[in-house]
Symmetry: D2
């Protein structure tokens, strides 16, 4: 199902080279102010253009198709559409025969028996994250004072990120990276013991971002090497603040009021200019594959804003489950 | 919500020191043979008693309350109950005042305003995994030839697991570990692009197991250090077999027919005999806390069977979504 | 799926002659006082024993298996179990061959390929409504001041109900009836335009009660005969009170603050002492069937309490969706 | 939630006078042929223009925004958009003050605190049924040989429908009606005992159609007047055919292989040219209201195609739950 959420719910649709990509949000409270320019900052962060990312191609203007009236949400489903304007009518048939290693080409062809829209990755394309980022903008507005900051803390195994990218561009290869997300201002008590722990929900959504290979919270994989006496975070205040934060802000699946910290591992872009071997599913013989065009040398550069978005979506849903976002948001401005 | 799954659905209930823990399975096909002893092996693996685990306390006999008739599933909801027989009527009130670091005591008291069943962790207790393991037994039967094997591959930072445990028992401390799960025999095509990728669903459930701090698939966090030219898995056969398996058996969120491989990080048990500091929420002053009783020196030892169970539950649901498990399973034996 | 609800969710399980029937409630706020005797009144109303109903057979004592501690709900899933104690080990094999007209015998055997628990209707039995009534008790407590009253307003086509029942008992036959439900004290604004209108949700649950053949709101089927100028309810107060109530308290699927009124049609009990014809599925020939035992002469007599229960369940869910029931209910009594 | 369905799922969005109305279908199998003209017949039936309906206003051209490629479904979410082209920029502010009796104006203003899009009924408008009809077209293709036929069998209390409409047009009033739906070719076994009986699901969706006041299956409300000995349908063949069909094709919530028959009551259009009284929510005084423009004299005329659509949607979901529609539909034409 292409839907996530219990009360604040998002549904995604579209293909890379079809008519459009988009998202529908259901359960958005009425009365949230929402205008065109609210989307600019995050859509711009996603769009790339910086060194190490592909040159920007699409204007990515969000069209609000429903659910907004007089610059405020109405409480009805809110659909945001991004039309695909920059589609080259090139020949994809050769590419079809040789599924790209590391991409979904092969599995999509099998799963949908050859009926999938294979152009540019179709529904599996990273372009679908446009809808996630747009939904994230609304989620961020809903959760108000909660601050979500994600950033690339390591690329190609080093924290000297710019140097690593320069090098890999020169090599015409690609590198992976680690993105860390820190959330402050959370109340105690978000999340459910079974099966909707904060970790469950965040990892569920984080793995919806293409190219993610791992997720860890707080001490993460390092916890496996630690002793209980070192790992426990002593509680030192009445509101639950702890001396250390190995828990990453979560106990028993529930936020504990400390900073929520997690990291995700991003693999290197699968599309590189290097020659690769793959099965030609028409001839049944191994073939060489050279993926044309320019690619992201470090796709991880574009991940932080998407990770913030999915985190905001998860938290907005939890906040609404806990009745911490009212069903109607009356803004300071005079009401219509 | 204490429910997981789309077609094959499980719901969990119960408390550590209440009347019972249990699980209800909805969507189990009719006609699956199911008898009492089917549960023994996995329940026994979970029960502990080995070195490094707590001494066994409960008989853990599953009572099939509904959904089974003449030793076969009926297609109706299947409820399995485990009565709590070994409950000591000790005084928990002191413990209440001093929430244990690393446990859910503090967050539960806040989230439920002091109405939570705080005895032995209540609904947050590891005892709830009984229901998961029992559900896993049924899920494993449903997915038939698919083989799921989880094992502890590292404890306290070393693969010399027995030695590490001996040492930490001596130190009266606890250690974490890494559990790896490998699944063979999967068809190509399980999972959905958004938002129900195989990674999303497995991580969602894996983080429902207490003490898990991270999940990684295939190359995992190591992918962040790799180059695209190294990371891609060349496809070398018509059925999608790849030369390497950095993808861990998944592309674009969908199984690709190779071995599915993932690992989870387990933190050291929070309960140790070492003295800890915590806030006394009655006095508002810092207090020392000594958790009585015997504890798991390495809780990770007990995780593999639970991880197999949740993995089987996820895969059974995916298999049913793909119509790969029929709605009715007619066994070889003569029908009733 | 044997589950209903979005936030306040109930799941039902069990069979007429199996170990038990029961219900699990998920999403019950913490802190609601709940004791054994809260269930007595409504369980008693359901149990029958009055003229026109079967003689009572079961004690129907609810066992609270989880989710309650110190006489208050904990916020964790709440499972209520009714053990089946009064099961006669009679021979059902003859009955199996001749599926009873008007019952689910035939469809159940087909749907579950003969694996269904066919004893006494199995999972299709009216005994399953025990769980509904128990869940309704909790729902009624949650929605507080909202008053739900259902009563039999017509039996066998007449409002002289007692006389009609006397007559049909004499004839050894059975009769249907109409049950009307009136709800007062509702806020404006419950329900959703698509697809969770108040009518959609109530009818969804009402048709879960065995023997229901129709549902109508306000003017109901009579509306089909009316003119627009007669049917409209003029709004005569600022809080939305209307002169007439053809709408039955709902506009556009949303409660409008007036009395919510609806009626359901209950068919006559299918089990009568009269001889019936049915296919013998073993011999492939038509057979005569005489259903033994005592039956409800007017099953509609037992429906009101069940209808109130499912209505309360629906309304509790809507109230929670609208944030009108807090996540924690602190009772007047001193907190634990 | 604006979503319905378990496997075959539809989500609806849009407003009467906003940018668009539309629908997203999730879970559509890949490989179903789908072209523009497939929608013409049913959209045309819905559009009105016949005597007794409003003059047609919109072209209602469906735009397939995603999920279709090379004239076949891809298995990805399928979004259909209808742009609103014929929106008059008239002044709605007067209308706002005087909520129309029988409409959702009052409840919408309360529920969404004045932020709702009130133009032309907004999200509550009958225009939203465009998405239902379009989704129904796809559902009908999926369920193949199953025949669904709905027709108006009574208007204004008489079966002389044309005459009744002529008369009410002359009177400048409106009338209600009864629509009957008959479905043939159903397999035995669709539907679930609790809580997703066929009646529950169909009534859930039927009440999503504006103006519906009641639903009855088979003998319906007449059952309340019958005796058990008359009501039972004797089974007369091995495949479950019955002599009579008081059950309406359903036992215990499950299809029994006979014709499925149900009826819905449609109220007269609320908008009439007759003067009405309503509360002026600005002045707090009663006001006269004259709704301008041309209206449906008998909205029930336009209901059959919508009722067929929602029925097809329900049945497609049940068929997929029973594995009776494969995940991939390979058409006779050569595969791409």
């Amino acid at each position: 199902m292409n839907t996530f959420g219990k009360i604040f719910r998002i549904s995604i649709f579209g293909e890379s080279h079809g008519n459009s990509v988009g998202v529908t949000l259901d359960g958005v409270p009425a009365g949230l102010s929402l205008v065109f320019k609210d989307f600019f900052n995050d859509l711009n962060r996603r769009r790339s253009g910086a060194k190490g990312t592909t040159p920007r191609k699409e204007a990515d203007l969000p069209k609000l198709m429903s659910g907004v009236f007089n610059d405020h949400t109405t409480g009805a489903p809110l659909t945001i559409l991004f039309e695909n304007t920059n589609i080259r009518s090139k020949d994809y048939s050769k590419l079809r025969e040789t599924p790209r290693p590391g991409h979904a080409d092969f599995v999509a062809a099998k799963k949908y028996s050859g009926f999938e829209d294979y152009r540019g990755g179709g529904h599996f394309s990273g372009r679908l994250t446009l809808g996630l980022v747009a939904a994230g903008v609304i989620a961020k507005k809903l959760i108000g004072a909660i601050q979500i900051k994600a950033r690339l803390i390591e690329a190609g195994g080093t924290s000297e990120i710019e140097a690593a990218i320069d090098k890999v561009i020169e090599e015409q290869d690609s590198i992976g990276g680690i993105v860390e997300c820190r959330i402050n201002g959370l109340p105690v008590g978000l999340g459910e013991p079974f099966f909707d722990s904060v970790e469950s929900a965040i990892s569920h959504m984080a793995f919806s971002i293409p190219a993610i290979k791992g997720v860890e919270f707080g001490s993460g994989f390092n916890a496996a090497k630690m002793k209980g006496s070192e790992h426990n975070d002593n509680i030192i205040s009445m509101d639950g603040k702890t001396e250390t934060n190995n828990a990453g802000g979560i106990n028993g699946g529930i936020t504990n009021g400390n900073e929520l910290v997690f990291r995700i591992a991003v693999k290197p872009t699968s599309s590189t200019s290097k020659k690769q071997r793959t099965m030609n599913i028409k001839t049944g013989k191994l073939d060489n594959l050279e993926v044309q065009g320019r690619h992201d040398a470090c796709i991880a550069l574009r991940v932080p804003v998407v990770l913030e978005a999915v985190t905001a979506i998860v938290l907005a849903d939890f906040m609404m489950q806990e009745h911490k976002i009212p069903g109607i948001i009356i803004n300071k401005m005079e009401k219509k």
